[in-house]
């Protein structure tokens, strides 16, 4: 099969099909082939936006309506030659050709042919596919009945067979368990688990593994990660001063909801309207933190209403993107250029959030009302108190020893000892490790006189402690939530300006006309939520299913996760998307069902090995004739290294933590040093186990995100992000090679294999390699590693000081193994889902 394909590839340069498709001779589809061209090149002037419409002509509808003529005015179905549209797009006269040169839009030859073919075939219009109701599609017949394990596979295989292709063979059991563990828990499997799974001959072992991973508390953490991106979760307010906020309780709610397998319709409803559901509790209110994750400001000159508008716009942006895959923001200032969303409809959506209570001027050093004080669904009151007490103790140590200044102070003390007098002299004469806090206080005061950072740090740390203590006194952590303020008349804002309400255009809460109607007298957020998850909503289930599909396969059925509108990609497998969406709803929006359905398919279980022919034929894997290797998300890269080293602290939930990052990153950009001392302006690392927690608990400062996560494409969490780029840069190499966290992980990994003194080098190499990659090294790989070990030993034996510097001990062995561990933790495979 592959050989035949290769011949084909060498013999023929595959012609690129119109928009995105791959087949060369499939019948034209309006939605897939024609509308994308019209949308991208024509709708800006001949589309839904009335304000910028030229010649009163719409090309997004066939016939005329009020104030406009339709596309059939300029084309003759069946007769491209007789169609004005073709004359215009084929014209060589600058004053006549469409699109006009000044638009800088150019139709390719292919696109022109598509339009002509479409007209020849009758110029049939269809509604945009994603606004059509979800169809309960039955799986198609396939030739190879032996391959499918379930309905998904029939859709995938039928398409492959249409293209004359066969699926890839099943991945090895080692690859499968690693893939599953990383995809479902975000953590690699333990070597013993891998061995047991590889050796098991139980045909039910795979399903049992899936069940176990779905039942793990790490499943909720894994699922929460993309949700935190989408919900723009962060631990600071974002604008201007960017001081701290407390939303970790909401994060914990998300993790717990995934673990309890809260049905997606309820998951959505609670996050949009948990304050309004019948019998609302603190827990349901906590869910609405989703909407309060908007950035906010308390910058001095702020006009509160301007920012209240910005917070609402952010909510619309997030809700429309996350739940519907619609880019509603465009309609904030003008009718949408491509999709049937008018400015009026935007403000109908706006009205759902306009009636909520949310001050434009945010609070300082913490949460802005409305807020609740409550306990987390995972972290109870006592555990929370213990966390805060621990953090305060850490900060109190920093009052004595500000972390950034310890070296500078030591140098100063040495110099000062010569000339000091009185109590300072007494204090300096005591050995550093025997000084009392009082003696340090004397030293700090004197040191602070010459080092301005000292006083600033003390003020900043005092502020952090004060805020934590006030939380303790208040009896618990708080979280921002939604709360209605009472009815408010919403107007269309002219060009989106907060201070230009168009009083001739009052609007009430409502949904776009292109979507199913919302039947309610005076709908509010609760009705909005219920409408979103109603069975006939065409978008919600499709968008949700698509996101999970992308998380597990590396590519959405609709590649543009954030855009299901006219400018978005056409689905590679529209019937599969509908099949999954309709069954997802029929299964009661059961998220674990959906994940299980996908990961137990034969399609998911395919090998990710590539051949040049496959790469050539289907570079983006649109046909799903293989699985793809994917570099892990930033958080799982770090978690994986800590896990391999045996360092990872796997506690689930709790307040955010502060793993080490380079000194000064925050204060160089922040308001650190301002006399009033805001929170989160300077970074104070955690101590102990909190340095080794999973990365989704890392404190997220929006204006200076954790650098080693940002290097691996984590978004900055300022706005909703439903997809991450996967880049590959030298800065990533520097992180994995040199970041102290990774250096520490390499050393710990080396120590762990050295524990058993009887082991041979070969056995240790094998154990170490397995911890990072979930497989033993091939002989050729083992020999490369053993050679490296010898080289490192030779170097460290010749330079024992280097070994001491590397490990803190005079151990050539440990230093050499740490070097080897660095190599292994840096393998592409170590940070990749197979």
């Amino acid at each position: 099969m592959l050989l035949a394909l290769q011949g084909l590839v060498c013999g023929l340069a595959p012609a690129m099909y119109a928009a995105e498709g791959l087949a060369e001779e499939r019948p034209l589809s309006y939605g897939r082939d024609v509308r994308p061209v019209l949308s991208d090149k024509c709708f800006a002037c001949h589309g839904p936006d009335a304000a910028d419409r030229q010649a009163d002509l719409r090309l997004d509808v066939p016939v005329a309506g009020e104030g406009y003529i339709g596309a059939h005015w300029v084309l003759e179905p069946g007769d491209p030659g007789g169609s004005d549209l073709v004359a215009r797009i084929r014209s060589e006269k600058a004053s006549f050709v469409m699109p006009p040169p000044e638009s800088k839009l150019v139709l390719t030859e292919n696109e022109k042919s598509v339009l002509e073919q479409w007209i020849r075939e009758g110029a049939v219009f269809e509604q945009h596919w994603s606004f059509e109701p979800v169809a309960a599609v039955e799986p198609p017949a396939v030739l190879d009945e032996g391959w499918p394990r379930g309905p998904i596979d029939r859709f995938v295989l039928s398409r492959l067979e249409e293209e004359g292709l066969a699926p890839s063979p099943e991945a090895s059991r080692r690859a499968l368990i690693r893939r599953l563990a990383l995809d479902l828990n975000g953590l690699p499997p333990e070597p013993e688990e891998v061995r047991a799974f590889v050796e098991s001959e139980d045909p039910a072992a795979y399903d049992a593994l899936v069940d176990r991973l779905l039942a793990s508390p790490h499943f909720g953490e894994r699922m929460a990660l993309p949700w935190l991106d989408a919900a723009r979760y962060a631990d600071t307010n974002g604008f201007s001063i960017d001081d701290h906020r407390d939303m970790w309780l909401w994060r914990e709610w998300v993790i717990d909801a995934y673990n309890r397998n809260v049905p997606y319709d309820e998951f959505v409803t609670l996050q949009l309207a948990g304050d309004l559901v019948p019998g609302a509790t603190d827990e349901t209110r906590l869910a609405t933190g989703f909407l309060r994750n908007s950035m906010n400001t308390h910058e001095g000159g702020t006009i509160p209403e301007e920012y209240r508008t910005i917070y609402i716009a952010d909510k619309i942006d997030t809700v429309s993107t996350v739940f519907m895959g619609l880019t509603m923001r465009c309609a904030q200032c003008h009718d949408h250029k491509y999709d049937p969303l008018s400015t009026r409809e935007y403000y109908q959506m706006y009205a759902f959030f306009d009636s909520a209570h949310e001050p434009g001027m945010g609070a300082v050093n913490g949460n802005t009302e409305p807020l609740i004080r409550t306990v987390g669904p995972i972290t109870g009151r006592e555990a929370y108190r213990a966390d805060v007490v621990e953090r305060i103790a850490t900060l109190r140590r920093y009052l004595v020893h500000p972390p950034e200044l310890v070296l500078a102070r030591a140098a100063w003390a040495e110099a000062a000892a010569e000339s000091a007098e009185g109590p300072l002299r007494d204090a300096l004469l005591v050995r550093a490790d025997r000084r009392t806090d009082a003696q340090w206080g004397v030293i700090n005061a004197a040191f602070g006189a010459s080092e301005p950072l000292m006083g600033r740090h003390l003020a900043a740390i005092e502020r952090e402690i004060e805020v934590l203590e006030s939380d303790l006194e208040a009896g618990g952590a708080s979280a921002m939530v939604m709360e209605e303020a009472g009815p408010r008349q919403t107007f269309v804002l002219t060009r989106g300006q907060y201070d230009q309400p168009d009083e001739s255009q009052p609007v009430s809460a409502g949904v776009p006309a292109a979507l199913p109607p919302l039947d309610a007298e005076q709908p509010g957020r609760l009705e909005l939520a219920r409408w979103l998850v109603s069975a006939d909503h065409p978008l919600t289930a499709r968008v949700a299913v698509n996101r999970v599909w992308q998380m597990l396969t590396g590519r959405g059925i609709v590649a543009t996760l954030n855009d299901f509108g006219n400018q978005g990609s056409y689905p590679t497998h529209p019937e599969l998307l509908d099949h999954l969406a309709s069954r997802f709803v029929a299964q009661g929006w059961d998220v674990k069902w959906l994940v299980r359905e996908i990961v137990t398919s034969a399609a998911y279980r395919q090998s990710s090995s590539l051949t040049p022919a496959l790469l050539e034929r289907d570079p983006k894997n649109e046909l799903l004739g293989r699985m793809v290797r994917r570099r892990l998300p930033a958080e799982f890269v770090r978690d994986g290294a800590l896990h391999a080293a045996g360092l990872l602290e796997t506690r689930v939930g709790g307040p955010s933590v502060y793993p080490v990052q380079p000194d000064g990153l925050w204060r160089e950009v922040s308001h650190f040093g301002y006399p009033k001392a805001f929170t989160a302006q300077s970074f104070y690392p955690s101590r102990g186990a909190d340095l080794r927690r999973r990365s989704l608990y890392t404190f997220w400062k929006r204006t200076s995100p954790p650098p080693s996560l940002a290097a691996f494409d984590a978004p900055n969490r300022e706005v909703c992000a439903v997809d991450r780029a996967v880049t590959n840069t030298p800065l990533q190499a520097l992180v994995l090679l040199n970041d102290p966290e990774y250096v520490g992980a390499a050393r710990a990994l080396a120590e762990s294999v050295l524990e058993d003194e009887a082991e041979s080098d070969a056995a240790r190499v094998r154990a170490l390699f397995e911890r990072a990659t979930s497989r033993p090294p091939e002989p050729v790989e083992a020999s490369v590693l053993l050679r490296h070990l010898e080289a490192a030993r030779a170097r460290y034996a010749a330079d024992p000081d280097a070994a001491r510097l590397a490990t803190g001990r005079a151990s050539v062995e440990l230093a050499s193994w740490a070097s080897l561990a660095t190599v292994v933790l840096n393998l592409d495979e170590a940070i990749t889902r197979p």
Binding site: E299, C330, N566, L615, H671, G673, A725, L734, E778
Partner: protein, 484 residues
């Protein structure tokens, strides 16, 4: 996509050469993968296949943006009016104030009294430009500067203002100017990023207003295009230095082992992304060798410090960052952006503005002079400016301070493709409104792109269904009046 195509091409080429993957040394791999690229995107966000830029012959090949964060006072530094003394202490007439909004900080003020510049102006250069005594060194290079005196923005506060001028939109989420340049033009060297950022804090207002990573962020562009923040000191790139006890020799051995193992895996899996990663490690290794040299000023003659001032010896100062910027221009970095904080003189106008000027004036001018002497100014663009200007009226009592003012402010440009010794734009008698030659911040950005060979309407990236661009949907105009 572009990278994927390239990788596929490489893969085919390798087959033609008949070489197995593991048969290639790492250096060869790096070459195959394109030494002129810093980082490689793997994602395929939308159909962004078109080779972005340049669209025409650029006038400047690289640029330095001396960003003055906080809003430098155009009244006190650049926008000379002959009649300030007469107006001093007089209320600004309502006809001048108009109905436009002011910030919450002075909106409640009962009167808006004109505050003349805190120091006198004099004419300088062959062009006879009026410049404040606060900028004696910059005054010496005015014949090289094009001074835009009627730049304007809608923003009245720092966060929206600085976000708008750096990313083209006051709403967060867009890509920064530098990220667009990296995306559009790529890198010209193999061991430094295309876009670097240097931060300094002035003595004027300390701490200055916060700045944000979004100002040099990539927004919706692949994150490899985000500005790389350089730190003061000998290892300016984060995690550049090897850990203790690992020298360059051992590091080389580690990378060789890594390349062998990754190469083997690439052969087994057929995944070209692994080879791309090998190339990135080689690039990191080269950076480790070259970047410390970038920051090591010991090769600079004494005359350099005479020019930039002795602050340039202190890592992390504005002067040191200006010198670093020049050194990066010499090494082919596409875009260097300095953020100097502390220009927010609501109070303490006289001492704080004077201090800001002392921190920056000499080095800014030195940079222009230095680039010129080295023949680099012809194809290096230098931009100086902040997110807005300041009010002609005093905030509180006279000479105390000035509030934010976005309706007109001054920005200067020099070098690649810019006429020297010109000014453009006229403001009214109170330096409060634009009279003529207004330049919106998107016109400013369109002009910067133009000088670098980019048509601002054609450098686009599809995101959320729109062809996003730096200048947004409103029309933007290249300020042709200042083009050489």
């Amino acid at each position: 996509m572009k990278n994927l195509d390239r990788l596929r091409r490489d893969l085919q080429r390798r087959q033609l050469l008949g070489g197995a993957l593991s048969g290639l040394g790492t250096a060869a791999l790096a070459t195959l993968l394109g030494p002129k690229s810093f980082g490689a995107a793997r994602g395929e966000p939308g159909s962004n296949d078109a080779a972005p830029a340049p669209h025409f012959t650029p006038r400047a090949r690289r640029a330095i943006y001396l960003f003055q964060s906080g809003g430098p006072s155009h009244i006190d530094l650049w926008d000379h009016k002959p009649h300030w003394d007469r107006l001093h202490g007089q209320p600004i007439p309502p006809s001048v104030l108009g109905s436009q909004r002011v910030t919450g900080m002075t909106a409640g003020q009962s009167q808006f009294l004109t505050n003349r510049p805190i120091r006198p102006f004099r004419r300088h250069g062959d062009c006879g430009r009026w410049v404040s005594e606060l900028l004696p060194h910059t005054a010496g290079v005015v014949d090289d500067l094009a001074v835009l005196k009627a730049v304007h923005t809608e923003a009245i506060n720092h966060d929206p203002g600085i976000t708008l001028i750096n990313t083209g939109d006051s709403q967060v989420g867009k890509a920064s100017l530098g990220a667009w340049l990296s995306y559009g033009l790529g890198s010209e060297n193999e061991d430094l990023p295309a876009y670097t950022v240097l931060i300094s804090q002035g003595n004027g207002k300390n701490p200055g207003q916060p700045i944000f990573s979004r100002l040099w962020g990539s927004g919706f562009l692949p994150s490899e295009h985000q500005g790389v923040r350089l730190r003061a000191g000998s290892a300016p790139v984060m995690h550049l230095a090897n850990p203790s006890g690992v020298d360059r020799g051992l590091r080389r051995e580690q990378l060789d082992a890594l390349a062998a193992l990754n190469g083997h895996r690439a052969q087994v899996t057929g995944d070209p992304e692994i080879e791309a990663r090998v190339a990135q490690y080689e690039m990191a290794f080269r950076m480790q060798a070259s970047v410390p040299g970038l920051a090591d000023l010991s090769d600079e003659p004494e005359s350099t410090f005479d020019l930039y001032g002795h602050d340039a010896r202190r890592p992390g100062t504005y002067a040191a960052n200006c010198l670093m910027a020049r050194r990066m221009m010499e090494r082919g970095v596409r875009f260097v952006q300095l953020f100097h904080r502390g220009w927010d003189q609501h109070t303490d106008l006289v001492p704080h503005l004077s201090a800001q000027c002392r921190d920056t004036d000499r080095a800014s001018a030195a940079l222009v002079t230095d680039l010129k002497r080295r023949g680099l100014l012809d194809d290096t663009l230098v931009i100086w400016g902040g997110e807005f200007g300041r009010t002609a009226y005093s905030q509180g009592r006279l000479d105390s301070g000035r509030d934010h003012h976005g309706r007109c402010f001054t920005v200067w440009m020099a070098g690649g493709g810019v006429k020297g010794g010109v000014e453009h734009g006229v403001t009214d008698d109170h330096s409060y409104n634009v009279v003529d030659g207004g330049v919106h911040v998107r016109d400013l950005n369109a002009t910067i792109l133009h000088l670098l060979g980019i048509d601002h309407e054609r450098l686009t990236f599809k995101f959320q269904g729109l062809s996003q661009s730096l200048t947004g949907v409103e029309p933007a105009r290249v300020v042709r009046e200042i083009l050489a």
